[in-house]
Amino acid sequence: MTMQALVQVLASGLLTGLIYGLVAVGLSLIFGLMDVVNFAHGEFLMLAMYATFGLVMVSGLDPVVLMPLVAALMFVLGGTVYVGVVRFAMRARANQGMVQIFATFGLATLLQGVAQYLFTPDYRSLSNSWLGGKTLDLGGIFLPWPQIFGALVSLAAFGGLFLLMTRTDFGRALEATREDQGAVALVGIDCNRVFALGWGLGAALVGLAGAVLAVFYYIHPGVGGAFALIAYVTVALGGFGSVFGALAAGLIVGLVEAATALILPPSLKSVGVYALYLLVVLVRPQGLFGRL
């Protein structure tokens, strides 16, 4: 393997890693807020990709332009899922952890079925977008524009999220609610509202990821599965609930995956990620940036 190839693989790993971070951050946010792991996270991503695809087909506009609309739709979906499903799981007096897992798992299966029903199980793909298929050639190192764009969106989203969490009333309400629900209720903040908005925000973030991925990835009812597992590992590695952790872990996962594929047969590239993850949580059970 030449130096150039090495740089290429690591650069690609970096871009992929930023996108992994964007896929995972919504999951981490929701977890941090209310201790719920959303097992339908991959299906949220899948729906966002179909939403992008559908909007492009209907409007003829470019996915880049439609991205805010997709995020808005996903915001509504996330809030609806909280109000319609998760709220009831939170009320369970017994086995709350398991009820959450299986309620969201049931939701995941349901959403896959709905997608197959509405969109057929055919593989879809967006062609003819502004960025699709365009590549930046830096002296033999090829960086595809859709991924560069995705990485930029990811960085912007993390920046925006940071500002939102620290500079706005909503962010402070989120932060306060995750610290102490009871106290928050006393000062007159409606927890349910905060939770619903939190779910909306989490889904909107994965919506951005879906819109980015739709430009260069295929779209299928089962597409969420591959990304969901990576998202769980990313979130656990970075620390559940830590926004910055999701970004850092996403980058690490992307790079380690790329590096493993250089050393081991590529079919084993996830093993490197899994091994690193296990190593980290054994030393730091709360993940890199999580709190216990």
């Binding site: 977890f31 201790d35 792991v37 499903v85 009831f88 799981a89 369970a92 007096r93 017994a94 086995n95 709350q96 952890g97 398991m98 009820v99 897992i101 299986f102 309620a103 798992f105 049931g106 939701l107 995941a108 299966t109 349901l110 959403l111 896959q112 079925g113 709905v114 997608a115 197959q116 029903y117 199980p121 009812p221 597992l229 769980y232 590992v233 979130v235 656990a236 559940f240 047969p265 079919s267 084993l268 996830s270 093993v271 899994y274 091994a275 993850y277 296990l278 949580v281 054994l282 059970p285 709360q286 993940g287 216990l292």
Partner: protein, 346 residues
């Protein structure tokens, strides 16, 4: 929940021997109920002659047994493992490789697989039981996925090609029965009875009390002298042991295995699901859950899946969601409540 109410049986308002007497009477009654239910289940395949329904029965009992095994760690001890597919795969592969490559009877493979799985569970538990809540669940998922990848790339066990069982005449020694499903019903039932008896025996033992204490409040359990770590390790080993036997039986039943078809993540969920739906940490929850879930899964696929429109998935997903939301304590709690209500009326 229902299981823990039994432990609360010795209430302060009754004289101690009286409550102890009631408690043992209740325990004995459970045994009688068990004997009747198991006898009925053993006779059931003779009443149902339809091969398809017998297949549903085999799967129902097998999943009941697997879920009962999961329940020991997940339900009683409160450690939500979502990686039991690993132990299932170990059992399936140990049994298949010994039989297909070396001609050793599957019975030996069942035993070997169970022992290996228990040891692996201890090796995994040693570092992972320090992880709390979701961190533990995600770690089990990741370890099982890594196991799947390794098996997929391990040529000695057939890699992605899997292991095909050769054709053999019907025999208990090889666990092969071409058309007859009754032996498989009895094998699956046997495994379920074994897991039930272990649960029954252990639930009221020191270990059982320890597990529930660990589940409810590990810190308090520790201060009361429960060896938290050891309790978890014991539960993990027992749980993995029986899960592997289930995997071995599954391999013999299907007579073909490949990594995806015995070690994928959906199996880990499928083992937990019946117990969760039926009633986590209870003696009968896994069976009740499996009796509801497995026939619906099978029948909805068979009779709704042929269209390719995804309505079987919609149906199944909605069912899981609604049941888990509507009855967090499990379906079994419905019966408990009515009995309590009836008692109150008297």
């Amino acid at each position: 929940m229902a299981g823990t109410t039994i432990t609360a049986a010795p209430t302060g308002s009754l004289p101690l021997d009286e409550s102890a007497r009631r408690f043992t009477a209740k325990r004995r009654r459970s045994l009688y109920v068990g004997a009747v239910v198991f006898a009925a289940l053993a006779a059931l395949p003779y009443a149902i002659r339809d091969v398809y329904l017998q297949n549903v029965l085999v799967l129902t009992l097998l999943y009941a047994a697997l879920s009962q095994s999961w329940n020991i760690l997940g339900g009683y001890c409160g450690q939500i493992s979502l990686g039991h597919a690993l132990y299932f795969g170990i059992g399936a592969y140990a049994t298949s490789i010994l039989f297909v490559n070396y001609g050793i009877t599957p019975w030996a493979g069942l035993g070997l697989g169970a022992v290996i799985a228990a040891l692996v569970a201890l090796a995994i538990g040693w570092p992972c039981f320090r992880l709390g809540g979701h961190y533990f669940s995600i770690a089990t998922i990741v370890i099982a996925e890594a196991g799947l990848l390794l098996v997929q790339n391990w040529d000695f066990v057939g890699g992605a090609m899997g292991v095909q069982w050769p054709f053999n005449p019907d025999a208990w020694a090889t666990l092969q029965f071409a058309q007859d499903k009754v032996p498989y019903v009895h094998l699956a039932l046997g495994l379920f009875v074994a897991t039930w008896l272990v649960t029954y025996g252990v639930a009221e033992s020191r270990w059982g009390y320890g597990w529930r204490a660990v589940k409810d409040d590990p810190a308090a359990a520790q201060s009361l002298g429960v060896e938290v770590f050891r309790s978890k390790m014991a539960a993990a080993a027992i749980s993995a042991f029986f899960t592997a036997i289930g995997g071995g039986l599954y391999a013999a039943y299907v007579s073909y295995i490949d990594p995806e078809s015995v070690m994928s993540f959906r199996f880990s969920l499928l083992f937990a699901l019946p117990a969760v739906l039926g009633g986590v940490g209870t003696l009968w929850g896994a069976l009740v859950g499996a009796v509801i879930l497995i026939p619906i899964t099978e029948i909805s696929r068979s009779y709704l899946g042929g269209t390719g429109s995804g309505i079987d998935l919609i149906f199944y997903g909605a069912l899981v969601m609604i049941v888990s939301l509507a009855r967090p304590e499990g379906v079994l709690s419905l019966f408990k409540r009515t009995r309590k209500a009836r008692n109150a009326e008297i």
